[in-house]
């Protein structure tokens, strides 16, 4: 079986690629010709087989699997095919990379053609996208000082700095959000406010200085540590349990074709 997934080179590689393209076109054509109702069963079958592969690999008992690449390997009979399937998934995922850029280009081309206020923004999109793409290709193909400097200017000087700027906006937004939100409107809101104040004071030097003369149990930093290591840990763990089981339920429903609503079936 592993002979099927051996690397090939030269004309054999081109033959493989041609065969795969023809196979994909044939599958696509068959799916298009299939009635819409039946297509649903094909998708459910493929989903089930995909999920079954990973589920079995995870659950089946394992034994030592020493290979040339891995002297301490462990696995079951499915484990050797995990890498192959991962490669397939990466290739399938790669097909979608261009989709986003195509969609963006279509939207902005229409806006540019229409003119108006938004045309300038669309022009900026095209200029910056192509400039970044061009300089990235240039500095890899011809890594001279000029190309590298322009690339550094655009990447580290512009993109990285803009990233950091957007992140810094969060600091300003948290001031306005907490000023507006932490009001004593109810008992729960009061507890939230007091907890927020204590935790914030507990992590700064000034806050620790305020209570340093009191017994240690009343220090802001001690209360903060209690809140974070006990109360918070318990709450986050509980939410984590719920999320984990919720995630399991959704995954089970999709895997077994039981999902309903939205783009799945509705029940009669």
């Amino acid at each position: 079986m592993s002979a099927l997934f051996k690397s090939v080179h030269g004309s054999a590689w081109w033959l493989h690629v041609a065969f795969v393209i023809l196979f994909c076109v044939a599958v696509f054509a068959v799916l298009q010709l299939t009635p819409k109702q039946s297509r649903k069963y094909v998708i459910q079958l493929v989903t089930f087989i995909g999920g079954l592969f990973y589920a079995l690999e995870f659950f089946l008992p394992i034994h030592a699997q020493v290979t040339a690449a891995n002297a301490h390997g462990e696995g079951n009979f499915i484990t050797p095919y995990m890498d192959v399937v991962s490669d397939w998934l990466t290739v399938i995922g790669a097909f979608t990379v261009g989709l986003g850029v195509i969609n963006l280009s279509m939207v902005h081309t229409k806006r540019l053609a229409k003119g108006g206020n938004t045309a300038f923004n669309s022009a900026v999109f095209f200029v910056s996208a192509f400039a970044m793409m061009a300089i990235d290709i240039l500095q890899k193909a011809h890594p001279n000082a000029l190309n590298k400097n322009i690339y550094e200017l655009l990447f580290s000087g512009a993109l990285t700095t803009l990233d950091a700027t957007m992140f810094s906006i969060i600091a300003f937004y948290i001031v306005s959000a907490s000023y507006r939100a932490f009001r004593v409107r109810s008992t729960e809101a009061t507890i939230l406010l007091i907890t927020a104040v204590v935790v914030m004071l507990g992590q700064i030097a000034v806050g620790q200085f305020i209570t340093h003369k009191l017994p240690e149990v009343f220090h802001f930093e001690s209360i903060r540590e209690w809140i974070l290591t006990l109360a918070n840990t318990a709450a986050v763990r509980a939410i984590g349990f719920g999320l984990g089981i919720g995630s399991l339920a959704v995954a089970l429903r999709i895997w077994l074709g039981l999902e309903r609503g939205s783009y799945f079936d509705s029940q009669a």
Partner: protein
Amino acid sequence: MKKLLRTLQTIDRRVLYALLLLSVTLPFFIPMKIPVKISQPTHKLYDTIESVPENSFIIFGSDWSAGTRGENGAQTEALMRHVMRHKLRFAILCFDPQAATLTQDIALKLQSQYGYKEGVNWTNWGYRVQEVLFFKAMANDIVKTVTADIHGTPIQTLPVMQGVTSATDIKLLVNVNPTNSYTNYIQFLQGPYHIPMVFAPTAVMAPEAFNYLDSGQISGMLNGLSGAIEYEQMLGVVGRATKDSNCLSFAHLLIIMLMILGNIAMLLERRAAKLETQLMGGAA
């Protein structure tokens, strides 16, 4: 009075932003140093690094970018100082494209202070992709998976990598990370190979990570910038975090004062409205 109370509850956000800007910049001109109490997670992290034998090989995972430089940059600097002071060999490993350069800069800045040299005492494996696949492959054969460092030098030729072939040769995992991808370190390295792991998240990510600290999967943690400040205090150095500590304090105090101001104004307004209603009811 009513108008004043209403205004205090609805201060224009531009005024709030201006106050924040002032509170973050003014401390740079006010020399003030107040010692902080070292928290338990920081203590544990320090002790974990101290317990690793000298000349052991560790992974210094760095996955932050310029956006979180304020916290993660300070943490990286503090941790790297300790690692170098404790004479540990380390490899920088990054799953963020910016992290490789940013962390390399910090290492180059600090190496001369501790007699370290790139290639001899430390190396930078650079930016890698597909974290899960990388860890699975690296755990079995580091040389084949990593192949070369950030400069293209084959890693098997580097003195720092001598005797390091698989996960069993790694004695500690350090991860400075603003995201939740640290769980991959736990799942694929710390758990299966029982390698002690210490973690330095941003303050926002820390509450979630306390679970792993509690269960022992993480042996120590720096809680955001305040954790880095505590760590520098433990190391006895005045680094980036200590210089930023006043900004942190002032910004926190500003937020607390604004919250209290808004609440006092709200309570006073409510009381005034209640009194007015009672008076009007009495007059009727």
